[in-house]
């Protein structure tokens, strides 16, 4: 039945105005279409993989090539092209920057029969690079055992703490290796996936060279073979034809160029002499971003937050007045985090204990519960808290820092000095030489306060347990809070991922309320690459080699 209109109007023709309106609406819809496309558009558009070409990118000159004898990122990033890990963080265009999901690599799968045993089953037929003394022999479980025995026992390995829970490693058979732990440690697999110090090596190479410091000793199972190392100039890698991931790498090689001067790197990128951005993570500095976008709009750009907290105020929480939570909260509320971002880092976000760039684990500030309050810039409330703590007239202290991280940190410290003065805290700035800073302040040997960045967060344990557990060398604030320690230990034993995630969130809320460390911000970073670089997406991990193996060039 059709409902009759009481007063039917005149029949409506299509008018010119209607057509214009419809056209306008369609135009608006179509023009906004690209905004709704997923961020992996370039991956989807990459088309069919294409073989060939040399990738020319900004790299670093390694201090030497032995990853068990240095923490240095320059060594680890360079080695990422030639070596592989047992498991790894996923690589690909569908991986959102800041997510670090473990996937099989040299191990095709793993199992965990109980809380303290992990069994890894290796891929069959993985070959070492065809160089003496290995000459392309097959990778076996003994190699994995040798690698981790060296990792754990090498006195010079500064990363030994990462596997301190491992009691022993056993070879079950030619392709199976077992890790037996002293106590449950759910982050073991993540630690093995960290592209720092965990590259699998062969015993014959160490026997031949004594250590792995020389370029000739770089013989791995990775996607590229080290062909030539020219100090101060470049490291040249060629495609490994026997790489175990099917079809990869697509490119014929990589030139990992040493570009010490940022302006030189940027000019080369503008001129198309390099294929990806010249700053770390193949990005562009925020200071250069707008002019680059203006002059080179055709390049691909992708923003992502850093998984490093750029600056943190460390407080000696075991000494007065920083052992008083009201003083710590007052300091936090006296600091204008957005002011630091705007004035120094240009773009970024205030951050909790886990840098905002570690997207799976970091909580936004407004979800920090009671702790969120202390992230508000409120000098009046800060003064009230100080008065409540018996410090109405303020106090004098010092802040140690270093120029070793570049001028931005020093600028941020000066801003903090200014903010604290506003609430009556007189801070004397002591700038240390980088080496002296690392040997003293970095390890908690300072008076009053200090300021510097926090290590990279690929998983939450190293930045939480490392910074807050009483026995850890990185606990620079000398935190000793039994309730917090219990929470930290509990998350290390919790197998259920969702439950563990909630624990990690609770820890962030708890420490935000306690303000043992006053975290300021994570920077925004912008990855950029030439449009002919396909199937590439940035992620702030040292595995440049893995990402290079997955991409292809369509010039």
């Amino acid at each position: 039945m059709t409902r009759q209109q009481a007063h039917p109007g005149p029949p409506r023709d299509v008018r010119r105005r209607d057509l214009l309106k419809a056209g306008l609406a369609a135009g608006v819809t179509l023009s906004t279409w690209p905004l709704h496309t997923p961020s992996v558009l370039w991956g989807a558009e990459a088309g069919q993989p294409k073989r060939g070409g040399i990738l020319r990118v900004r790299g670093w000159d390694p201090v030497h090539f032995d990853h068990h004898l240095t923490l240095n990122f320059k060594t680890n990033t360079t080695l990422s092209f030639a070596y592989s890990t047992l498991v790894r963080y996923k690589v690909g265009v569908d991986i959102r920057p800041g997510t670090f999901t473990v996937e099989p690599h040299l191990a095709e799968r793993w199992e965990q029969p109980d809380d303290t045993t992990y069994i890894f089953h290796l891929r069959h037929g993985v070959k070492w690079h065809n160089k003496p003394p290995l000459n392309g022999r097959e990778l076996v479980a003994d190699d994995v055992k040798f690698t981790y025995d060296r990792f754990i026992t090498e006195p010079g390995n500064a990363l030994r703490f990462a596997l301190e829970s491992v009691e022993r490693i056993e070879v079950v058979d030619r392709y199976t290796v077992k890790f037996i732990l002293k106590e449950p440690y759910v982050w073991l697999v993540n630690m093995l996936a960290n592209p720092a110090g965990t590259w699998i090596i062969a015993p014959e190479v160490v026997q031949q060279f004594g250590d792995l410091k020389k370029a000739e000793s770089v013989i791995g199972t990775g996607p590229f073979i080290l062909e030539r190392y020219e100090p101060n100039v470049k490291t040249v890698f060629k495609r490994n034809p026997d790489y175990f991931l099917k079809d990869q790498p697509y490119i014929d090689g990589v030139e990992w160029l040493i570009l010490d001067d940022p302006s030189t790197g940027l000019a080369m990128y503008r001129a198309g002499q390099i294929d990806c951005g010249p700053a770390p993570w193949w990005s562009v500095r925020q200071q250069d971003l707008e002019t680059l976008k203006k002059s080179h709009p055709h390049l691909v750009y992708q923003d992502f937050l850093s998984n490093v907290t750029s600056s943190v105020i460390y407080l000696r929480t075991d000494t007065s007045p920083f052992n008083d939570v009201r003083v710590r909260r007052a300091i936090s509320m006296a600091v204008d985090r957005q002011g630091i971002i705007d004035g120094v880092y240009i773009r970024g976000e205030p951050t909790p204990a886990i840098a905002r760039g570690a997207t799976e684990w970091s909580l936004p500030i407004d979800q920090l519960g009671e702790g969120a309050r202390y992230y508000q810039y409120d000098p009046k409330e800060a003064r009230r808290l100080l008065a409540e703590a018996g410090l109405a007239k303020g106090f004098k202290t010092q802040i140690n820092t270093t120029g070793g991280y570049g001028p931005d940190l020093l600028d941020a410290v000066q801003l903090v000095q200014h903010y604290l003065k506003d609430v009556g805290i007189e801070v004397e700035m002591k700038v240390q030489e980088y080496g002296a800073y690392m040997a003293t302040t970095f390890l908690g040997k300072f008076e009053g306060m200090s300021m510097g960045p926090v290590s990279i967060a690929w998983e939450p344990d190293s930045v939480l347990y490392g910074m807050y557990a009483p026995d850890q060398p990185r606990n620079s604030a000398h935190v000793n809070d039994p309730k917090l320690t219990a929470m930290l230990q509990e998350q290390r034993r919790t197998q259920d991922l969702e439950v563990r995630k909630q624990l990690i969130f609770d820890i962030q809320r708890y420490v935000a309320a306690q303000q043992y460390y006053v975290y300021t911000n994570s920077n925004m970073q912008t990855g950029t690459w030439q449009p002919y670089v396909k199937n590439y997406a940035p992620n702030p991990s040292f595995d440049y080699g893995g990402r290079a193996a997955a991409l292809w060039l369509d010039r």
């Binding site: 201090v63 030497h64 032995d66 068990h68 004898l69 240095t70 923490l71 240095n72 006195p155 010079g156 390995n157 500064a158 410091k213 020219e230 100090p231 101060n232 100039v233 470049k234 160029l257 040493i258 570009l259 010490d260 001067d261 302006s263 030189t264 940027l266 000019a267 080369m268 503008r270 001129a271 198309g272 002499q273 002019t291 002059s295 080179h296 030489e433 980088y434 080496g435 002296a436 690392m438 040997a439 970095f442």
Partner: protein, 314 residues
């Protein structure tokens, strides 16, 4: 002449000895400590004292100095504290690059100084003279690192072009190898070229007013002959002395330009070593460059004596 050269040679020994003492002591007075830097990596010894002992840095400073000097006399500049590679070997690999850049810089400086200085003098107070002097002032005032940055950055923004900024060995591609030295050599040569040009002009003006030049003009000699043969040869003596001093400026300039233009020379090696407080490398590089400068100055003095036979060592 022989006596003059011998006496100058005798002076070289105490000069080098003095340089070695200054280099050694200043290096150890720098803030920061290689032991602390290396210990941060934790890969070298169990504690700071053990590392200091391992590197031989626990001995009194004078013992370290004489031990180092003894090795230097035998041609051994020691090993890098970080890489354990011999300093001499590392430098020999890099010296050709720095020499090439320095030599091209000197050629550029001379190509600017002599023709423009002479032209400016013989066309005194004309537009050409003013233009040449103004350009010289600009060349002297703008520091090389700024010129280098502009040369690299501006064309890349305007035209999407940058000069070759990655080192290519001569054997691999001779043209590309030479082309990557052109811009840094130009920049390196501009400031010393400008200084030399101003001096050449001033000395030429002085010489051109001498009686024997007036005589030459009055004899009806042609301008090129008067200027180049009679005036320039006499005017150029102090220029040669200044050139000797400018070589120091050129050597200093290579440090920053090698970093900016990606040339793997001794200057860049020195910068890295200083950041890492690699004492043996810093000492070795500075001692070697100082020795080269001392030798160059000796050669300048000898040239001076050759050009003007009246000059004798007093």
């Amino acid at each position: 002449m022989r006596q003059y050269v011998l006496k100058r040679l005798c002076l070289v020994v105490p000069t080098l000895l003095l340089i070695s003492i200054i280099v050694f002591s200043l290096n150890h007075m720098l803030p920061g400590d290689v032991v602390v830097l290396m210990f941060e990596e934790k890969a070298y010894a169990k504690d700071l004292d053990a590392l200091r002992a391992k590197l031989g840095l626990d001995r009194p400073l004078y013992v370290q100095y004489f031990s180092w000097l003894g090795d230097v006399v035998q041609g051994n500049l020691g090993e890098s504290l970080w890489t354990k590679r011999p300093v001499v070997e590392e430098m020999m690999r890099r010296l050709p690059v720095t020499f090439e850049l320095g030599a091209m810089g000197i050629i550029v400086a001379l190509c600017i100084a002599l023709p423009i200085g002479v032209l400016s003098a013989i066309r005194q107070d004309t537009l050409k003279d003013y233009a040449a002097r103004s350009i010289a002032i600009v060349g002297l005032s703008v520091p090389p690192f700024w010129k280098a940055t502009l040369v690299i950055v501006l064309p890349s923004i305007w035209f999407g072009w940058a000069p070759p900024l990655q080192f290519t060995p001569f054997a691999e591609n001779p043209w590309q190898h030479l082309s990557q030295f052109i811009l840094p050599a130009l920049i390196l040569g501009i400031a010393p070229g400008a200084s030399l040009m101003r001096l050449t002009r001033a000395l030429m003006l002085e010489v051109l007013r001498q009686d024997y030049i007036r005589t030459a003009w009055s004899k009806g000699m042609r301008e090129p002959r008067v200027v180049l043969r009679h005036a320039l040869k006499n005017a150029v003596i102090p220029v040669v002395t200044l050139l000797g001093l400018q070589i120091i400026q050129i050597a200093n300039g290579t440090v920053i330009l090698e970093t900016i233009f990606g040339l793997p020379g001794v200057g860049r090696f020195l910068v890295d070593a200083m950041f890492q407080r690699d004492y043996t490398v810093v000492q070795g590089v500075i001692l070697l460059t100082s020795s080269i400068i001392v030798v160059v100055n000796l050669l300048v003095d000898m040239t001076y004596a050759y050009l003007d036979p009246r000059i004798r060592y007093q």
